[in-house]
């Protein structure tokens, strides 16, 4: 058994919040550069150039890439042989978010209640997805989610007889309807199977996969490419001004489902596709 003090978790999350919001990951920069090479619209190319310039300014000046620094979504993998000491883990994760958003001059965008709309003032609570895994480490991934793109997501419970063609139409239609709103070029996360909430979770998790990495199952890797082509044929283009680059990637995650069901969820990320991970090692427990 190993142990980790909550203070270590707090500092790690604080740092992750700032880095994720101010430094655009290299895979996104590479994808934007690649798009710049193939985009036919001059207006579209200009947008892509400005996005790259924006990322440079943000990294250099340590300011957020986008003012919507998002709702903090955390994916936490806790090793079953790790003991968290000094406080509770959820409290520590939220404290890290609180400190990161304050110290990093990140925007506080969370309201306490969907109807009273009063800002909590510290960007908490975070949305936390836990998974218990083997081992004695803790992996924390932060994916700050802006709502221009989040609002464009959709979920549908299909009949098994609807099959793949209906699901493909639904995915492309969701992007079509979103048009310029989610700040294209976008990354499209798709969750297929499971239950209603599992499909939505998978769609979100799919957005964590680096651009350029395919689903390990060949037929789904092919489906990702096919959908990417169809989406880029929509003509929406960078910022919706028209062009070839509407999406940088389509990432599909799949899970077994019920004999009666075919859940499908689409979660869209803007070009500021943010996620950053840290793995913390525990220390040998003092009581052993």
């Amino acid at each position: 058994m190993k142990e980790i003090h909550v203070n270590e978790v707090i500092s790690a999350v604080e740092k992750l919040c700032i880095e994720a919001n101010c430094i655009l990951n290299q895979d996104v920069i590479d994808a934007l550069n690649k798009a710049l090479g193939i985009e036919e619209s001059s207006q579209g190319r200009e947008v892509l150039q400005q996005l790259l310039e924006n990322a440079e300014i943000a990294a250099k000046e340590n300011i957020p890439i986008c003012q919507d620094t998002g709702m903090a979504v955390l994916f936490v993998e806790v090793g079953q042989n790790l003991h968290v000491i000094g406080g509770d883990l959820t409290g520590a994760l939220n404290e890290g978010v609180r400190r990161g958003y304050e110290k990093g001059f990140l925007r506080k965008s969370i309201v306490k209640d969907p109807f009273n709309r009063i800002n909590t003032g510290d960007n908490t609570p975070a949305v936390i997805h836990y998974e218990i895994v083997s081992g004695d480490k803790i992996g924390i991934t932060i994916a700050p989610k802006g709502f221009g793109s989040e609002n464009m997501g959709a979920l549908k419970m299909f009949k098994p007889s609807d099959g793949l063609p209906a699901v493909k139409n639904f995915i492309v239609e969701t992007v079509d309807k979103a048009g310029p709103n989610p700040c294209p070029p976008i990354v499209v996360g798709v969750g297929l199977g499971g239950t209603m909430e599992k499909a939505a979770y998978l769609a979100k998790k799919a957005l964590l996969r680096p651009i350029g990495e395919s689903n390990p199952v060949e037929e789904y890797a092919r489906l990702e490419q096919e959908l990417l082509t169809q989406i880029n044929h929509l003509g929406i283009g960078p910022q919706g001004f028209g062009g070839r680059t509407t999406a940088l990637a389509v990432n599909i995650e799949v899970f077994p489902t019920h004999i009666a069901g075919l859940p499908a969820a689409v979660n869209i990320n803007c070009h500021v596709t943010r996620h950053r991970q840290v793995v913390l090692e525990g220390r040998v427990s003092s009581c052993e």
Binding site: E40, S41, S42, Q43, G44, V47, Q50, L51, E53, N54, A55, I57, A58, E61, N62, I63, P64, I65, C66, Q67, D68, T69, F105, L106, R107, K108, S109, R117, N119, G121, G146, G148, N151, G179, P180, N181, C183, H233, L234, G235, I236, G237, Q239, G240, F241, G242, G243, R244, C270, H271, V272
Partner: protein, 190 residues
């Protein structure tokens, strides 16, 4: 317009009627002058004030509203990251403000048919700024001062002084819409 090189035109805010009427969908502009920020909560409050017959935080005539909720200003800066938010959420409120003299809006994303109609009726313009380029756009903001609803935090109404703020005309006073025309050129059907 996408492959033709369009000259960037310098304009100033507030907008006069002639300039607003002469701007065309797809035209690139650099805006200098004074604009006001407002997003969801401020629009709701302004609309409620109008319904009660009360005044607005600033005289709307000829003004431009920038749909933005900026990030906090780090030390030595006037404002944090400050790109546009999705304009569609303001659709319920924009026609009322346009009827009260509002001449321009800066945002990103689709507008409702009611807003497009109000843009035409009032000879106004809807500009697009690059969504997600908040660090770049912040460098065009020279002054920022909260003038109303400070309790709304990032959503408060701010008076901004901007210089060569890059934008594109999305919907012009004739109701022409870049989101429709731009896309058609690149759509591959079938």
């Amino acid at each position: 317009m996408s492959n033709k090189m369009v000259e960037t035109r310098k304009i100033s805010a507030p907008l006069d009627d002639t300039t607003a009427a002469s701007l065309r969908c797809g035209e690139k502009v650099l805006i200098s002058g004074v604009v006001y920020t407002g997003r969801d909560a401020a629009h709701k409050k302004m609309t409620e004030a109008l319904a009660r017959g009360e005044g607005l935080p600033f005289d709307m005539k000829g003004q431009v509203i920038y749909f933005v909720g900026p990030a906090p200003a780090p030390p030595g800066k006037v404002i944090g990251s400050a790109g546009p938010t999705t304009s569609g959420r303001m659709d319920a409120y924009s026609p009322g403000l346009l009827a009260n003299g509002l001449k321009g809006m800066i945002g990103k994303g689709l507008r409702s048919p009611e807003v497009i109609q109000a843009i035409r009726e009032n000879g106004a313009v809807y500009f697009g700024a690059i969504g997600g380029a908040g660090a770049l756009l912040a460098s065009c903001i020279k002054e920022a001062e909260v003038i109303a609803y400070p309790e709304l935090g990032t959503e408060a109404v701010r008076r901004l002084v901007i210089e060569d703020f890059p934008a594109i005309v999305l919907i012009d006073s004739l109701g022409q819409n870049l989101y429709e025309t731009g896309r058609k050129e690149y759509q591959i059907l079938g």
